[in-house]
Amino acid sequence: MRLCVPTVRLVGQAEWAAVEGATRPVSVPLLQGCTLCVMMRKVVRQGCEMSAAAERFAEHGFVFLPNWLAGRSTLDIAAELGGLLDLSASVPGLSIPAVQPLRLQSEAAARANTYSKQFGRAEFPLHNDLAHWFRPPRYMLLRCINGDHGVPTRVVKGAELRSVFGSDRIDRALYRPVRPVDGLSLSLLAGGFAGVRDSVRWDSLFLLPANETAREFRDFMQSVGNFLKGEKQYLAVPGDTLVIDNWRVLHGRAAASRDSPRVIERAYLTRVDL
């Protein structure tokens, strides 16, 4: 129990915890020495941190939130950030849970037509999730359940790729899915997402180039792109959260050892409200 002088009341542990967990800045007078005000100062600081996170996300297309709201479920976190996207509701016949556990698998153990089947525990090449969809999920979050300091997730910004390869060339590239997504027909997919600054679409496994510019981009990614430094994000501690704009950023997991305990949960979002 603590004493708040301005309000002359005792603040219980539950209320203290609720204030500690708040992510929105609160406008309160800050009186020195007041326990409640110390709590509010912390909330204001957290609010400022979240504003900075929002700015980083808007500028770079991704943001890493270390040990964020630890102890809360990925489902809660997704709801906290914005709208949880239920893919099964969006695409009839699809059975994908709203929160997907991602565990390291060997090629032998993995399901057909998955990255794990193709690459196992080796490094995943840079890609957007569901790049073979006409309009893939815009936002995604990756949350550490069980971390591994030795397995970073590499992120490369579309802006960087556009500056190296050429913005208009990326927009002229056309791809098609390897297999019909709906089992019936194939459609052409543009190399960028119309109207979205610095967007890029790429997947070396699920997309086939349909025109010359796309073939050039494929060759570029194979020769140069996969060696782009990008930024490494370490989902090492439970609660570490990486929020990604799936249209503006490519990502790929580093190679993992056989005994790596890494477990990540992934959720797709309709919006991000940091």
Binding site: L85, L87, S90, V91, L94, W133, F134, R135, P136, P137, R138, D168, D171, R172, L174, V181, D182, S185, S187, L188, L189, A190, A194, A210, N211, E212, T213, Y268, T270
Partner: protein
């Protein structure tokens, strides 16, 4: 922003992506190859459809069967053996011209002619694109592409590898068209000035009477300064104003000039590009005034009189 695994086949994105693919194949040939023209014509139709679908894919549906409209709205088929049908490209062009001021009759006229060549190539033994080069169709093709992309807010350089060359070609084409028109006006002016004054005065009077009688937009002929007429095509929305006190409805609509005629010196100009070069390309407003009873299809005095006369012919019920 909704997730979608596949695009609707009639969506602007799907049509535009295919047009982009065909442009890429076109650019893989030289301008002298017959394939260059053929792929250009295929890409242009897809772009026209994409431009119309940019407003809504429903505008592409053949409305004679409501199921086509339902399909365009993204609904699954509700009838066995249903095959969705879209409107023909001629209708696509007509709708684009009516909805967008940037799609002029020059552009749709070129497109119709170009698609006819494409049809000849595909459906007959005629070699519609062989050995004919591209100088006559490439600049207006680029003009059409630029206008259609403009509807969708897409820049030329996303579609064409050599967008700068296309822009230069468009500018040169418009310049050449302007020079040709000015030469034509000069020629008519010289002939007019060679006529005796009496003849000129008589022709001017005839032209004034004719311009007053005929419908069109009256203007001064650039060659002989007589009263002449510009005919236009309606463009954009109709503005309607009801004047209840005087029982009239006034409708106004913007008209884009399409042709010019002067009966005094015989000068004729057609096409917006040439009219613009001649200083006659400004849009004008067409005003129509209707009696309110006619506009709203109300009963007027004549209808009421006829009703009264009919009533007089009925015999009353009588137990005779």
């Amino acid at each position: 922003m909704t997730v979608a695994a596949t695009p609707h086949p009639w969506s602007a994105d799907a049509l535009m992506n295919k047009a982009l693919l065909y442009i890429g194949v076109m650019e893989g040939h030289t301008t002298d190859d017959w394939e260059y023209g053929l792929w250009a014509s295929l890409a242009l139709e897809l772009m026209a459809r994409a431009a119309l679908a940019h407003t809504s894919p429903v505008l592409l549906a053949d409305a004679s069967n409501w199921r086509n409209l339902s399909y365009a709205l993204g609904n699954p088929a509700t009838s066995k053996k249903f095959s969705p049908v879209s409107i023909g490209v001629g209708e696509v062009l007509g709708r684009l011209e009516e909805m967008h001021t940037t799609i002029t009759s020059d552009i749709t006229g070129f497109c119709r002619h170009f698609f006819q060549r494409r049809n000849s190539e595909l459906h007959s033994g005629e070699l519609a694109f062989h050995g004919r080069g591209s100088a006559d169709w490439l600049p207006p093709f680029y003009i059409a592409v630029e206008a259609l992309l403009g509807i969708m807010g897409r820049p030329l350089d996303v579609v064409l590898k050599n967008a700068e060359d296309a822009v230069e070609m468009i500018a040169a084409y418009k310049d050449d068209a302007a020079k040709a028109v000015l030469q034509d006006i000069n020629a008519h002016r010289l002939v007019w000035q060679g006529k005796p004054q009496l003849v000129r005065d008589q022709e001017k009077a005839k032209a004034e009477a004719w311009a007053t009688k005929e419908t069109g937009h009256r203007c001064s002929c650039p060659a002989c300064s007589s009263e002449a007429l510009v005919q236009g095509k309606p463009s954009g929305t109709v503005s309607t104003k009801v004047e209840p006190r005087i029982g009239e409805v006034t409708e106004k609509q913007r008209m884009i000039p399409a042709s010019f005629q002067c009966i005094a010196c015989g000068l004729r100009i057609s096409g917006l590009a040439k009219l613009t070069a001649a200083g006659l390309g400004d849009a004008y407003t067409s005003t129509s005034i209707y009696p309110a009873s006619q506009y709203f299809e109300l009963y007027d005095e004549d209808d009421l009189e006829e009703a009264r006369r009919e009533a007089e012919r009925f015999e009353p019920d009588f137990n005779e």
